[in-house]
Amino acid sequence: MGYAELVLPGPPPVVALDSRPKAHPHEASGEEGVYAVRAQAGDADAFGHLVQRYAAVARRVARVILQDPDDADDAAQDAFLAAWRKIDQYDPRRPFRPWFMKIVTNTARDLRRARRVRETRPLLPDVPSEGPTPAQKADSSIIGEQIDRALADLPERQRLAVIMFDVEGYAHADIAAILGVPQGTVRSLVFHGRRALRNALSPIIGDLK
């Protein structure tokens, strides 16, 4: 049993569709297009296949932006609902993933802005401060804190680029389309973000190897 399995809050036992090996990230794009076209015709079950396929990645990417699991779930859910409402605007000749992931990142950023506005409101003197949520308590392992801190130290675009490249296995071109930056910028973001994370997490990565 590896160190991460002992300390980290473990991954769900149910293997997500998108958590299969990332050797062929474009493999299912045609299938996704078919589901999307059926969803455009009003088939909610077809959209359900897309939800299953993208649930995990949407939650991970939203969490990288919001740095809070509960807010990330809210953002991911809002993103799916927005995609469903606007599915007619999706062009089936183009890949579904960049279109949807752009919705996820925009939704998460909108939520973060709204959360900042909320946070700037002064608290009334008699309002008790909230303690950590159960999710935060569960996620308060030393390694988890180190990873959160290392991610928080990175600029948002570096975080997103590293997660999409190293965790999700997206190509530079896909990431460029999602973030709206040139591919060269994505390479630079991955390079700098990855170097910072490796430096910050080197003891943990060393133990895992």
Binding site: A4, L8, P12, S19, A56, F80, D166, G169, R198
Partner: protein, 126 residues
């Protein structure tokens, strides 16, 4: 420390797996079920909804254009209705205006120019 090159163009599996384990939330099936429950209750945007998003901007542009056209029409009409006599009565003749000591107002300057132009036209016609 990993022995990988930071310039490496392929994903870093060790780093990627560590981040994946940390960032992957539990209960994926429950989350997907909640989302689908919401999806089934959410109506999709129709073409009219998409067009409706543009309606406020379209109305604003139309209002500005109508206002500009209206102002242009009013200015043109008042210019046509103005006669040399009414201009002279309201503002005085150019000679009278120029005879007054002190700086001229914008209206007086305009009257001198217009009146002078009208008189010149009348002189040309005769």
């Amino acid at each position: 420390m990993t022995d990988r090159n930071d310039f490496d163009g392929s994903p870093d599996r060790a780093l990627g797996e560590l981040l994946r384990q940390h960032l992957t939330p539990p209960d994926e099936a429950g989350f997907a079920a909640r989302v689908m429950e919401q999806v089934r209750r959410t109506p999709r945007d129709s073409s009219w909804d998409v067009l409706a998003q543009w309606t406020p901007r379209g109305l604003a542009v139309a209002a500005v254009m109508l206002l500009a056209m209206g102002l242009g029409f009013v200015a043109a009409t008042s210019r046509e209705n103005a006669t040399p006599e009414t201009q002279s009565i309201s503002a005085g003749s150019p000679t009278e205006i120029l005879a007054v000591p002190g700086p001229l107002s914008d209206e007086q300057i305009l009257t001198v120019v217009l009146e002078g132009g009208v008189r010149q036209d009348q002189g040309d016609r005769q």
